[in-house]
C-alpha cells in the first residue's frame, strides 16, 4: 500500500516548524512505527535527514511513543498506542497528517518528539507513598478488598504517554494526574498522605501550565491504558476535600 504523509518537521525547540510531504510504500502487517522506519530508511538513502520520533518498547507499555495522526492522538484505533497501531487500519492511497503533541507543558524537542518532563515533576510533587526501604510491614498485614485493588490497578495502568493532554481541547492533564491520585487514594497504603498528595500535585499541575478540565471526555477516548474518566472526579473530590481539610488545619494552627 502507498501512503502520502504530511509530517511536522521542526529542527529544535526554538526553530519554526512546517509540514513536509512524503510518500512511502507500506504493507498491512507493519506497525505504524515500522512504516516510519521504512520511510526513514528511504530518506537516509536519499541523503535526507530522517524524521525524529520517540519510541522504545514498541509494545504499548513504556509510553514513549506518541504523536497525532489525522487529528487523533496515537491514531485511529482508539485505546492503542501508535507503536501498537498496525497498518491494516489504513487504506491504500490514504493521506496522513502527523503532528506532535501540542501543549505549553509539552514543548517540541524536534519533529514529532516532545518534552514530557512536566509529568515527572507532577509525580515528584506527591505521586508516591513515603516508605523507607526496609521499613515495610508484611505484605499481607494490610488486607485490601479485591474490588478496590482492581480499581487501583486500573488507574495505575497509566503509561504516562501524554495522549490525554494532546487530545484535550483544554490541554488538561487531569486524566494523568487523576490516575495517580486514584491509584494511591484507593489503597490503604495511600491514605496517610492522601490530602497533601492532591494539594501538591495540583499545585505543580498549575505550575506546569496544563489546562483545566471541563469534562469533555476526549482523553478517556484515546487513553491507551483505558484509564477511566472517574479518575478525574476522584482527583477533584480529593482536592476539594483537601482545601476544606487544610483550611481547618490552618485555622486550628491559629494562622486562620
Amino acid at each position: 500500500m502507498r501512503l502520502t504523509l504530511d509530517i511536522w518537521r521542526q529542527k529544535g525547540p526554538a526553530a519554526a516548524g512546517r509540514f513536509e510531504t512524503y510518500s512511502v510504500e507500506a504493507n498491512e502487517h507493519m506497525s505504524f512505527l515500522e512504516m516510519l522506519d521504512v520511510l526513514n530508511q528511504d530518506l537516509i538513502a536519499q541523503g535526507k535527514e530522517p524524521v525524529a520520533f520517540d519510541s522504545d518498547c514498541r509494545e504499548g507499555i513504556c509510553g514513549m511513543c506518541g504523536f497525532v495522526v489525522n487529528g487523533v492522538p496515537h491514531g485511529p484505533s482508539n485505546h492503542t498506542t501508535v507503536c501498537q497501531t498496525h497498518m491494516r487500519h489504513f487504506r491504500d492511497g490514504e493521506r496522513l497528517r502527523l503532528e506532535p503533541w501540542r501543549a505549553a507543558a509539552f514543548p517540541v524537542v524536534k519533529d514529532l518528539v516532545v518534552d514530557r518532563s512536566s509529568f515527572d515533576r507532577i509525580i515528584q510533587a506527591g505521586g508516591f507513598v513515603s516508605v523507607r526501604t526496609g521499613a515495610a510491614v508484611d505484605a499481607n498485614a494490610m488486607l485490601v478488598e479485591k474490588s478496590k485493588a482492581d480499581r487501583a490497578m486500573t488507574a495505575a495502568a497509566c503509561i504516562g504517554c501524554g495522549a490525554c493532554v494532546a487530545a484535550c481541547p483544554n490541554a488538561a492533564a487531569a486524566l494523568f494526574t487523576g490516575a495517580k491520585v486514584m491509584h494511591l487514594g484507593l489503597l490503604p497504603q495511600g491514605q496517610p498522605e492522601r490530602i497533601d498528595r492532591a494539594m501538591s500535585m495540583v499545585a505543580q499541575y498549575a505550575e506546569e501550565g496544563f489546562g483545566h478540565c471541563t469534562t469533555i471526555g476526549e482523553c478517556e477516548a484515546v487513553c491507551p491504558a483505558h484509564v477511566p474518566l472517574e479518575a478525574i472526579a476522584f482527583l477533584n473530590g480529593d482536592y476539594l476535600r483537601a482545601t476544606f481539610r487544610k483550611r481547618e488545619e490552618v485555622a486550628a494552627a491559629g494562622a486562620g
Binding site: K11, G12, N27, M30, S31, L33, E34, V38, Q41, I44, E49, P50, A52, S55, D56, C57, R58, E59, G60, I61, C62, G63, M64, S77, T80, Q84, H86, V109, K110, D115, R116, S117, D120, I123, Q124, G127, F128, V129, S130, V131, R132, T133, G134, A135, A136, V137, D138, A139, N140, M142, L143, K146, A149, D150, M153, A156, I159, H183, L187, Q189
Partner: protein, 637 residues
Amino acid sequence: MSLDARIPSGPIDRKWSTFKKETKLVNPANKRKYTVIVVGTGLAGASCSASLGEMGYNVLSFCFQDTPRRAHSIAAQGGINAAKNYHNDGDSVHRLFYDTIKGGDFRAREANVYRLAEVSTNIIDQCTAQGVPFAREYGGTLANRSFGGAQVSRTFYARGQTGQQLLLGAYSALSRQIGAGTVKHRSRIEMLDLVVVDGRARGIVTRDLVSGKIESFLADAVVLATGGYGNVFYLSTNAKGSNATAIWRAHRRGAFMANPCYTQIHPTCIPKSGDYQSKLTLMSESLRNDGRIWVPKKKGDKRPPDQIPEDERDYYLERIYPSYGNLAPRDVSSRQAKYRCDEGLGVGPSGLGVYLDFTQAMQRLGQKVIAERYGNLFDMYAKITGEDPYQVPMRIYPAAHYAMGGLWVDYHLMSNLPGLFVLGEANFSDHGANRLGASALMQGLADGYFVAPYTIGDYLASPGRTPVDAGHAAVKEAEGAARAHTEKLLAVGGKRSVDSFHRELGSVMWEEVGMARSAESLGRALKRIPEIRQEFWKDVRILGSGAELNGELEKAGRVADFLEFGELLAWDALQRNESCGGHFRVEYATPEGEAARNDAEYAHVAAWEWKGEGQRQALHKEPLAFETVHLATRSYK
C-alpha cells in the same frame, strides 16, 4: 589477576547476615559528602538511587529515555518470584534457592543466589507498601500464580503488567527523592565511557541526547544498572533502545565480562511477520499456566487448528516432560519448539511457529476468568496479529529475550574495578546459564533495594580514594575519547543505514550463535562479525550533526559496540565446550537432545579481560563450588 568473589565465610544461610554484621557503616553526617553515580532507572537503578538518596548520599541518576519511568523493566509482564509461601504449598527460601540454582543449570554462584532468595520476601513487602497494586484474592490477601521451572505458586503479579507496576513503584520512590533533592536526575543522557582513576571507577562521560553536549560527572562510586544486551540479536523482545554500550565501555576500561554466551531465548513470542520487523513481542510465560502447546502430528498439515482432531495433535511438552509439561523451563521449551519446526511440523505462514491453545482452559474456567488473568496479553496479541486468541489458538515462536551474562561482579556486586558496581540484568550474577521466569524482576529489586545500598556503603567507608577533579588527565582522556568516537562515526559518511548493519549482525547472531550452536556455526560467526564491523566503519551513513537530537547517531554508537560485543559472545560460546541452560552446543547433547553439561571442565564462570583493539580477550576462571546443592543433571521429566 585472580578473581576474589569476597563471599563471607560460614554456612550459606548465615553469609548475608554475617556480611551485614561486619559491614563498615558510613557516619550519617558524612553521607552527604559522598557522591554516587547511578546509570539506569530500571528496577535495579531506580530502587538503588532511591534507597541511596534516602540514606543521605548525594546521588546522580541518568537514563537515556525521556523519563526514568520508561526503563525497559516496564515491559515485564508475568510476575515476580518471592519465597513467601503464602500458598502454603511447601515453598521456602531454600526451595527458591534450589530451583534457581537448578534452573540455572548449575552455573550460578550459590552464595549470591541464596541471598537473592533470602531478600525476595522483603521485596514484596516493600513494593506493597509503596502501593504496587498486586493481584489479590477475595479475602484481601495477595494472589500468586505458578511459573516455568517451579512446582510451587510463588509468583506475584499485577495483571499482565507486573514489571510496569514494580517499576512505577521504584520510580515513585525515586521521584520522591528527586523532589526532596537528594537525587539529581537527568533524562535523555547516554553514558559513553567510564572514568577510571588509579584503577578505581570514579565517574562517567555522557552525551546529552538533545543538545549533543559531551560532559563528564565524577563520583566516589559508579553504579551501572543498564540492562541486558539481548539486542545484539537485532530482533529481540527488548526495547529498541536497550544496549550494551555502558557495560561494553566499562569492559574496555578493564571490567571483566562474564559468560556473555549465556543468552536466553524465550519460548513464547509472536512469530516474525516480515523483514521490516523492528522487534519481537513476548507473550508472557504465565500463559503457559493455562495454555497448552502443540503442533500437528502430520507434516505440513495446513488445516485450521480447530479442524485438527485431538489425536492428530502432539502436545509435545506434556509428552516429553510429564511432570512439568507446559511449564518446562525456557531453554528446554524453546529448543523443543525449534526441533518441531526443523522437523517441518511448524504452523503459520512461515512454518516457524507452534500453537498455544486456550480452548480447553476456556471450557474449564470460562472466558471471563481467562480474560481476567491474561486480558491485556490477549489484546496485545490481537492488535499485532489481527487474530482473536479467544477464537483461534495463538501462534508462538522463540525469540532472544534475556542476558544471563554481563559484567563480572563479586558478592558485593562490585566488578573487578573497585568502585564499579553492576546491578540487575547488566551483571552476570544470579541466573547461571538460564534464568527462571519471574526471577529477573526479583533480582533487579533485590540488588537495588536490599544489597547494593549496604555493599556500596561498605566500599565508601573504606579508605583509598584520592580526590579527583574535572581537570584530571584521566577525565580529559575519557572525554576526548568519547568526543573522538562520536566524530569518527559522523565522519564515515558512507552509504548504508545503521539499521542495515544491525540487521545483518542480528541475523548472523541468530543463525549461528542462537538456539543451537556448533563449532562450525561459531567459526562462521567469528569470521563474519569482524567483516561486518569493517564494512560498518567504511560505509555507515549518519546524517545530521552531533549537536542535536540525532537518533541515527545514538543507534550507530550502540551498534558499533554490539559489533564488538557480538564477537566476544561467539568466542565465549566457542570456548565453552559443553551445553548448559541457554548455551546449547549441538556437539554436546544427550541422546534425547537435552543439554549435556561437562562439570569436570566447565563448572566455572568465564570472565573475559579486554586486551586492547584487535586482541582476543584474556580468560579468567572463577571456579563454582556447589556445597549446598549437589551437582545433578537437570530433569523436568
